[in-house]
């Protein structure tokens, strides 16, 4: 490694060449987002062409202007805060409970006998259909929204944790035991880290689910939050407001997923995949 950096310092390229190289580098870095840029440009051009009214499709620049206004007035944070709070709390509860239940199902026959059919039925079901019942039982505030998030996000975590625990090689457990690990410590020292890659995959599925369900519950129940703000804007026929909220939701969701992918790379630095580039 040291040799490579020495080699670089030896041959200094011409300033013009290095500028070109830098441009190429920037180009390469943004190549992945070029299509998004194209869509935004098309949106702007189409909205300004006069073929549609600005009520049906406000221009991208006016939406950005609204987002800037939301940010400066603090309205953005007043709505983003509750949304992120619900997403994270719901995700955290679903994550902990899901990993615990999944591992238990893999290791205890009775727990498995009880929960396996329940999970199989509930996993593919559109659980958002339970929303009226949750509203009836738990009201319209945080508790019912977060319960709904947990209810939706927990199933991919359970199935991933169960499959991961079952997939832990018995040789790993035997090695640890013969090196002197007690049975009690095996769960923490061997099973959990060995199952981590697959558990992380389950969590990576659960996080966007948590975000989506948060926004949907906010849309249907109202109150502070990005989803609620978006529905409120639509009721006032404020189409730049609706589009601004949609973009804000999109950006927040993208950053969450990206952050999760980074966390995965960090936690699984030892894993084969760490050497490959991430797509998410």
């Amino acid at each position: 490694m040291a040799r490579i950096s020495e080699g670089l310092s030896f041959e200094r390229p011409h300033p013009a060449a290095s500028l070109l190289e830098a441009l190429c580098l920037i180009g390469r870095a943004f190549r992945g987002s070029l299509s998004i840029l194209a869509v935004l440009l098309f949106w702007e051009a189409f909205a300004r062409s006069g073929w549609v009214s600005s009520f049906l499709l406000p221009s991208f620049s006016s939406v950005v202007e609204r987002m800037a206004g939301d940010t400066l007035s603090g309205a953005l944070f007043a709505n983003l805060g509750p949304t992120l709070y619900r997403t994270f709390l719901g995700f955290l509860v679903a994550g902990c409970a899901g990993v615990g239940l999944g591992i238990l199902m893999a290791r205890n026959a009775v727990v498995r006998w009880f929960f396996d059919p329940v999970v199989s039925v509930a996993f593919p079901m559109p659980k958002i259909a339970f929303l009226p019942i949750f509203m009836l039982w738990f009201g319209l505030y945080d508790f019912s929204k977060i319960s709904m998030v947990v209810f939706n996000a927990i199933f991919p975590v359970i199935t991933a944790a169960m499959a991961a625990t079952e997939g832990v090689e018995k040789e790993l457990l035997w090695s640890a035991e013969s090196l002197g690990a007690s049975r009690r410590r095996l769960l923490w020292e061997i099973v959990l880290p060995a199952a981590l890659p697959q558990i992380m995959t389950g969590l990576q599925v659960a996080l966007p689910v948590a975000m989506i369900v948060t926004v949907v519950t906010e849309m249907l129940m109202g109150g502070p939050g990005l989803g609620g703000a978006m529905i409120a804007a639509s009721r006032f026929a404020d189409s730049p407001g609706v589009f601004a909220d949609i973009l804000e939701i999109a950006i927040a969701g993208f950053l969450l997923v990206k952050g999760m992918a980074l966390l995965r790379r960090r936690l699984l630095a030892w894993h084969q995949e760490a050497k490959e580039p991430t797509t998410v």
Binding site: E169, E171, L172, S175, E177
Partner: protein, 287 residues
């Protein structure tokens, strides 16, 4: 790469007390008496893997369990290791019946079974930590064993960054570091390429001659068994029984051993014993 044997690592094996071969009268370390084993899969019929195996392994002896695939030689090793319950017959280690796995019996698996989330050093340190060795001392000892197997410089690598041979070296270091009296090896070189395998075989001999542990080595490779073991237990096709026990008695420090006539004759003889069993196993196994 590992030719330089550090004399200081010898004492780390407890070479002082147990290193002198033949100093004490030979003691029976592992006694296997009428052991059988039946696998009961969740679905399908139970399979008789082992039948009335009786065998004694002396202290500091190198014994190979040789037989065709599926003859239950690994099962026997797992029973000695305490990974499977002894349901039929008895296995005594130093006169005590086996009750679960323990650090007195170290194991090396064919597929290494290194902890992939730990570096080589942390893998080796793990067992020392369980033994209650003080922090600095365990790192020092782990480094010594990593050095012994020729992996110096790879302490901070993760298993996924190592080649097959290096992984097995790391696994051997991890097992040796806790200084088990008995070393159980389950086809440890079975997944390595031919060149690495022959290198690792002579390395293992070198290490064994220094540490003088009791070794039970499972293999289906006749040459490997003749080259490494003092005694070879030839097993029959399923259900596994002891077909014959052979003493090898070749001088393994002779560099020309592999090309010598006695070696070739021994391999021939053992192969003739295994051959019929291998054919039987190939045709659908025994009963």
């Amino acid at each position: 790469m590992a030719a330089a044997i550090k004399t200081r690592s010898i004492e780390a094996f407890g070479g002082g007390e147990r290193g002198q071969a033949g100093a004490a009268p030979e003691r029976t370390e592992i006694a296997i008496r009428g052991v059988g084993h039946t696998y009961r899969p969740a679905r399908g019929r139970p399979v008789k893997a082992l039948e009335t195996i009786s065998l004694e392994v002396k202290e500091r002896e190198f014994v190979a369990l040789l037989g065709p695939s599926g003859c239950g030689k690994s099962t026997l090793l797992y029973l000695i290791g305490g990974f499977l319950p002894v349901e039929e017959g008895k296995i005594l280690i130093d006169g005590q019946p086996v009750a679960g796995p323990g650090p007195d019996r170290g194991i090396v698996f064919q597929h290494f079974a290194l902890f992939p989330w730990k570096t080589v050093l942390k893998n080796v340190v793990y067992g020392l930590e369980k033994k209650g060795v003080a922090r600095e001392e365990r790192v020092r000892r782990a480094r010594e064993f990593i050095d012994l197997v020729g992996l110096s410089g790879f302490e901070d690598s993760y298993p996924s960054q190592l080649s097959g041979g290096m992984k097995q070296r790391a696994a051997i270091a991890r097992t040796l570091a806790i200084d088990p009296a008995i070393l159980l090896m389950d086809e440890p070189f079975g997944s390595l390429d031919a060149q690495t395998r022959s290198l690792m075989q002579s390395e293992l001999l070198r290490i064994w001659q220094r540490s003088r542990k009791t070794v039970v080595f499972v293999t289906h490779d006749v040459q490997e068994a003749v080259y490494l073991a003092e005694r070879i237990v030839v097993m029959s096709a399923r259900p596994g029984r002891v077909k014959e026990i052979l003493s090898v008695g070749l001088d393994r420090n002779d560099p020309g051993l592999l090309r010598s006539r006695p070696f070739a004759e021994m391999v021939d003889h053992v192969w003739s014993l295994v051959r019929s069993e291998a054919i039987r196993a190939e045709r659908g196994g025994g009963t």
